[in-house]
Subunit: 618 residues, 2 copies
Amino acid sequence: MSAADRAGLKSPIRTYLEKLHATYVDLHDGQVASYIPELSHANPNWFGICVATTDGYVYEVGDSRQTFTMQSISKPFVYGLALEDHGKDAVFHKIGVEPSGDAFNSISLYPDSGRPFNPMINAGAIATTGMINGEHPAEKLQRLLDMVGVYCGHPVEVDQRVYESERSTGHRNRAIGHMLRNFEILTDDPEPALDLYFQQCSILVTCRDLAIMAVTLANGGLNPISGQRAVHQPYVEPILSIMSTCGMYNSAGEWIYDVGMPAKSGVSGGVLAVLPGQLGIAVFSPPLDQRSNSVRGIRVCEDMSQDFNLHLFHAPVVAKSVIRTSYNASQVTSQRSRRDHEEQLLQEQGHRIRVYDLQGDLLFSTVEVVLRDIMERHERLDFIILDLKHVTSIDTTASSMLCDLLHTLEAQPCMLLFSNIEPSSPFAMSILGREGSDGSQGPVIYEDHDLALEWCENQLLARYLGTPSGDAAIPLAEHVLCQGLSERDLNHLQTLLEPLSFAPGERILETGHAPDYIYLLTRGEVSVTIELADGKRKRLSTLPAGMAFGEMALIERAPRSADVTALTPVACYALPIAAFDRLQEINPSLRMMLLTNLLRHVSGTLRRLTEKVGILTG
Amino acid sequence: MSAADRAGLKSPIRTYLEKLHATYVDLHDGQVASYIPELSHANPNWFGICVATTDGYVYEVGDSRQTFTMQSISKPFVYGLALEDHGKDAVFHKIGVEPSGDAFNSISLYPDSGRPFNPMINAGAIATTGMINGEHPAEKLQRLLDMVGVYCGHPVEVDQRVYESERSTGHRNRAIGHMLRNFEILTDDPEPALDLYFQQCSILVTCRDLAIMAVTLANGGLNPISGQRAVHQPYVEPILSIMSTCGMYNSAGEWIYDVGMPAKSGVSGGVLAVLPGQLGIAVFSPPLDQRSNSVRGIRVCEDMSQDFNLHLFHAPVVAKSVIRTSYNASQVTSQRSRRDHEEQLLQEQGHRIRVYDLQGDLLFSTVEVVLRDIMERHERLDFIILDLKHVTSIDTTASSMLCDLLHTLEAQPCMLLFSNIEPSSPFAMSILGREGSDGSQGPVIYEDHDLALEWCENQLLARYLGTPSGDAAIPLAEHVLCQGLSERDLNHLQTLLEPLSFAPGERILETGHAPDYIYLLTRGEVSVTIELADGKRKRLSTLPAGMAFGEMALIERAPRSADVTALTPVACYALPIAAFDRLQEINPSLRMMLLTNLLRHVSGTLRRLTEKVGILTG
């Protein structure tokens, strides 16, 4: 029970599901299945509804935890296992994919080949089960149970009494098995395949389990609660295709037309429906209609589809939001502070660096939008950064399209970089592993987006200003705090300063320490960082020669709020706060100049940051 | 030809399509249709491929502008018009939705009712055409042509020679017409319906047109180039459902299994395929296979589906990116400046205001994520703002879920607001038109997100501080620039100030004017705005009593960079820059205090803005 429920305030969705449950709890049409004796013991009043989301939340109403046997609902999942064991072609060779228009237990074999029409009718399902790999029956059963267990998120088992009941009364299925043997669809004694089939039908699940199995398919084969893969992504499409055309026995056309979700039902009263990319739905209610579908199950699926617009072809338009924001480096610069002439140059030439902040799932139609934008602009660009921080997945098509783009641009003056990629991810591997890529232009993959932007800025500045940024020492007179100082004031200031030097990696300022000095950096680079609550270190900015740090000590006599570390060999001057304070008496105009310079610098930073916020929230 | 093509740099997608075209241009299998004499004149070498995106871009390769007649491709579109004219139930009553498994020109009627199996076989299509509304045949034809014209984005016409050829040789269709009349599916003389049917089959289109028609369906019925609606959204689902099960004649199961896109072909050699929410694809090549589908058309669709992962059930997971960012008002405050004690209170209590920046299409499974997050948190919240700036559409389900949420929260201490909604939009109407909503708590809809946040902050401050913010005048000693001033310095400052007052709406500062004064606001509120390139006015911030404006004149003697306007009756003091400069000689410590206070204020603003950027880019 969630916090919201405790407060007596129900989610409108939960309220809806409860109403739906209340509407159909009094619907007593249909009959509990009786052709397998054990199934007839089911309570016709059992009624559960569950909805599971792709982020792993499950809404449950009614008898959502009552166990029952999967029966035919096992078929699409076992079909997925057969596909994993043999591939699409080999399975297609033995079992068709056409709706038969016949009842679930009809034989429906292609007359010449004996090939079952599809894997959802019993003949096709038995043929499918016959394809499951394993050295011996126990291993096959275990593989099948393990597979269902990953879908559900917990170990599952066979209901022995139902299984024995199925086995002892499964004459029709036994006939089908021998017919399949006759046509060489089953190439061995049909008994072990039949036995495994009876066991798969007798696996115990709950309505909640079915909703999670359904959403695992909606989520591309990944159980969203456990994060475990139940089936490989490429086999999700065939499973859902078969469910969409053959899942609800006859009337394939009407089901897609009216309900619009791939679905599967079983004679024990379960139904599951999948809205790809969005939801899994399950209903459990034993009384069946004449087509052997759960009466309440069908009504609930129809109502939910209608009331929530859950039709497959009511699809969100994904391309419109793949680019979260896009900007150039004259609009948004990196967190590296720059001296005035560098800042100026980035203002003028920063449009040659473009950043795309992408989001969501990358697939053909979302990457296409990005590619098109890049192709339109690339002639006017020197650097392109694709930031993948908000990207949730990259399919094989998207990955190869981005590799193609990288390859295409390698012959061009415009360089492509990626940021917020784990170097060990499959996508990073495919980028780095490209043929002909020698990395001579510099790294193309960055874990930190801001470092990628800083690298591009540095390249751009070096191109226009001739020298790599940040190496040279600068004279004190060029320091940001010393602008406009007279020679006399500069000399006075010099007498107050203590020269210091630091090796790369050395800590210069530490969070929490007393604010005794401000520092004027004249050579090298420092990094300003803080430690986050989770112990990770976050970089706030990089400062080059000419910048000040610890300067907030001038106005707020509070302990240091960040750490400052030398990135390169660093030379700087420390100005004691006490000396600064004494200037009030002995050289107020120098003090005023220092303060005014600081104010100008802070105001400039504020102005640029305000513009940045405008762009980022644009 | 785009800029990219001119530069000799091809989009990888265009390159792919050209390769695909080159691969199949030499495939000479199949026969040009000859059963209608005019069709046999088609050039078997014609071959075009087009792909259209939901933002209206069209990739074209080969004979993409060659005209040909629609033939059966007209059927799903006319079906859509019949649905608009009569609704789903009335159409379903006359025409089924089951794949027949028979050839396109088979009669396939349900034996008892004479009802055609589906609207894609000729019998169903003729019955569909017989349902089109209109006073007389010319009006019916015009409505049909207008409908196709909106899909294509330009007027279309009938090829008279093909039409006459169809009419003079359409004996089989005429037989079907009379059979439909016999069963009362057509309730009138079948000739006018047949005549209109022959005309719809003879409408001239190009491969490019078909791609745009396809993407219009992918885009929920809205032509993405013209922005015009070709068919109402609720009828897109039935059209695509029928195409998915009955569009490619026999083998409905195999098409969905292998290609996975609703599609329709015609005997003149066109094929179109729809990937809902993503793409429209069209191929034109006259030679047909034995099932009367374009040989090259089928191969191209199969290859593209395979190579680009375009299967219907390879669906992006939309719920993962509906919340673009979410933050509370202690992390990100509005653009209204606050006095220290107010700032302090927002730091402490701002967590009671939560902003959700939503994005993309709002539908059940994306709104569900938002609702769930709100239900989990609402007990700890006083205000919730849903910002819809980046939302691309809101379906009826999403709209009613949000109305339900608003209704649910009305009985709670937590208030829900929406920002970036046009007050005239259907969603705004449904929000404002709710029963029982008296607006007594304040407006729930804001065009500007920052104003919504500011309003919530003001409510929160009033709740904790007892008085509404911004009304009372403040003594000069409490002004942000006067903190820590001695009484003597305060008196000195007072002698330099010129008291001014302004009425609501009065302009106080103007962009471009000389920076002669800085202003200390002691009563009322001002708004700081700039004029954008498009003439619109953008609000940068709101300033209450206690704040300064025009203060950058102290450090940068540049012309004013923004306009400042009184929002309420305003009292302020103007400090001449010249007087400030003279302080250097006569009261340097006062000047220093003013500068230090300004630096502290600017630094505080910078620090908060830095945190804001961290949250927004999080």
